[in-house]
């Protein structure tokens, strides 16, 4: 009984390791994954529908050149409603989730930061673990 259970435990020693070696490699995220929003500055017209859709009052339309949305990630729950209802398809969900920062001010993402490319992909840290 107890010995049999020990056998099961011993058998797992010889199975494949499941640990995802995070900082070096990021697992393959599905296409549907909802991470940090990406803003296509060419397509955005600053209509503010995303801001109205948001349940949490995350999005503020600010002027940086033209009018663009600014995201307060400290409020955002990444539900994807803003992306679903963007009439021009300017917003999209990326696979970028590494958002930890040192101060509260850094959680606010300006339009320029939203339009920047994905950091992890630039560093080539994706792939590796599918499960």
């Amino acid at each position: 009984m107890v010995l049999k259970n020990l056998q099961i435990t011993l058998r797992t020693v010889y199975t494949k390791s499941v640990t995802r070696l995070y900082p070096e490699e990021i697992m393959d995220l599905p296409d549907a994954f909802r991470g940090q929003q990406h803003l296509d500055m060419d397509k955005c017209v600053g209509c503010g529908i995303c801001s109205q859709m948001c349940p949490n009052d995350v999005i503020e339309i600010v002027k940086s050149g033209k009018w663009y949305p600014q995201f307060d990630n400290g409020h955002c729950m990444f539900c994807g409603l803003c992306v679903d209802f963007c009439p021009n398809g300017a917003l999209s969900m990326t696979k970028h989730f590494e958002l930890a920062c040192w101060t509260k001010e850094e959680t606010v993402y300006s339009p320029d930061q939203l339009a920047a490319p994905n950091k992890a992909e630039l560093e080539g840290r994706t792939g590796g673990y599918t499960k």
Binding site: R20, N56, D72, H75, F97
Partner: protein, 187 residues
């Protein structure tokens, strides 16, 4: 200790000659200003034991981060059950007016050096319940917070990244244990 003047105050006069006294805080002060602190910080950063303290959705990811798939032991980050054995408290959810006194007490029970991770948007800003009559927002004014991890809930990887950022912050000596915020009253 060659700089025998450390911490010697009024009691000096009552001591026999060739005897110097010092105090714990003076030793701490001395270490802080010497290269020894780098070794201390190296030790601290590699043994960030966190308290399992699930308070909401983030609590589930907090549980997941400790086991096989993410295995925080690789970084010396180990879940502990008691606040007295933990270095890191994760505020992993909405704090209500009812829970705030208990949370403060848990925080007071932790030994220094100690750090706080704000996990998830509920802790950072109140999240979806930011307007509610029952939740406390602006927790960063109440607790000395070191790392903010947005996400609802953040993936376990994002939480790990938060820990790595905290390690960086400790090495850089920018954490709130070293540089307390004057508003905290020297917490």
């Amino acid at each position: 200790m060659e700089e025998g003047g450390l911490g010697m105050g009024e009691i000096e006069a009552e001591l026999p000659p060739n005897v110097t006294v010092t105090s714990a805080s003076a030793i701490q002060e001395f270490i802080k200003n010497s290269p020894l602190q780098k070794i201390v910080n190296w030790g601290r950063k590699n043994s960030l034991w966190f308290m399992t303290h699930p308070m909401g959705c983030c609590g589930i990811e907090q549980i997941c981060v400790g086991v096989a798939h993410y295995d925080t032991d690789r970084f010396g980050i180990i879940p502990r059950c008691s606040p007295r054995q933990a270095d890191v408290m994760m505020i992993s959810g909405y704090v209500s007016k009812k829970y705030l006194p208990a949370l403060k007490r848990v925080w007071d029970q932790m030994l220094e050096p100690r750090w706080i991770l704000m996990m998830g948007e509920c802790a950072i800003s109140g999240g979806p319940w930011w307007e509610s009559y029952s939740t406390v927002t602006h927790l960063d004014e109440i607790f000395p917070v070191d790392i903010y991890i947005p996400g609802c809930p953040p993936r376990p990887e994002a939480l790990l990244q938060g820990f790595i950022e905290l390690q960086k912050k400790i090495v850089a000596e920018q954490d709130r244990t070293v540089i307390p915020n004057p508003a905290d009253g020297g917490v």
